[in-house]
């Protein structure tokens, strides 16, 4: 199982990174491989590549704003949520996606 995630927020110095930290923790808890791209004030970090997309089983987009390059995820099951939901309950979000694609 390989999951992708993008986190983003309007200011790009706080929620984006807290959501990323919690999604990473949640994936570790479920024993799942995850790659998280942050779209914060520093721009795209840990950018998701074509290869990542090709081998991914699903994606989480946790953002309050329009993310950059959303079309990359067109052919994947995508769970979209607000960034604060991923800060609050990353495990719940991840489980929701896992349930949908299993």
């Amino acid at each position: 199982m390989y999951i992708l995630a993008v986190t983003s927020c309007p200011v790009g110095i706080a929620h984006t990174y807290m959501a990323a930290a919690n999604l990473k923790k949640a994936a570790k808890k479920r024993g799942i491989d995850i790659k998280i791209e942050t779209q914060g004030a520093q721009g795209l970090e840990n950018e998701i590549t074509k290869d990542d997309i090709a081998r991914a089983d699903g994606a989480i987009i946790a953002s309050d704003i329009k993310i950059k390059f959303p079309e990359r995820f067109e052919d994947l099951p995508v769970l979209e949520c607000k960034v604060q939901e991923a800060v609050k309950d990353a495990l719940g979000i991840l489980d929701e996606l896992l349930e949908a694609i299993s």
């Binding site: 110095i13 990174y17 807290m18 930290a21 923790k25 309050d64 800060v87």
Partner: protein, 152 residues
């Protein structure tokens, strides 16, 4: 460069007085203004409240991280403020706040500074890091924690 390099002792308070969210944001902004981090207190506070109105910064576990990026910020910085009394902050977990980390970044900050501020946000989700930080009672303890943890 690590997080320690952004520590300003004038922005670290272990017994901060304030009755509510508004008063505390104003008070911390005052500290930032007095230590030359922001050029215009009113505009900075406006930016912080605009952000609050979009999404609460009460991230739960007794912590709030009000923040904004603004042209009036002259030096990227953060406050570490332990409150004398808990206050309501419309937190994710509904609990009151007893620790306020206010972040300020200029709109044109270089990536290095932004990276440090975001690494602080990232590390706050780490249970050990967060608990050590909020339980620290001296600047030395905080510096030690930041040195150990470095960047994420």
């Amino acid at each position: 460069m690590d997080l320690c390099s952004l520590i300003d002792k004038r922005l670290i308070v272990f017994n901060f007085d304030g009755q509510d969210k508004e008063e505390i944001i104003q008070g911390v902004a005052e500290l930032m203004f007095n230590s030359g981090k922001i050029a215009d207190k009113v505009k900075y506070v406006e930016g912080v409240f605009k952000r609050e109105s979009e999404c609460s910064t009460g991230i739960g576990m007794g912590i709030a991280i009000p923040h904004c990026r603004s042209d009036v910020v002259t030096q990227p910085c953060f406050s570490l403020v332990k409150l004398k009394n808990e206050v309501e902050w419309d937190s994710f977990d509904g609990k009151p706040v007893s620790y306020v980390i206010m972040l300020a970044a200029p709109n044109d900050a270089n990536n290095e500074f932004l990276k440090l501020l975001s690494s602080l946000s990232y590390n706050l989700m780490d249970d050990d890091f967060r608990e050590t930080l909020i339980n620290a009672s001296s600047i030395e303890e905080i510096e030690l924690l930041f040195k150990e943890k470095g960047e994420n």
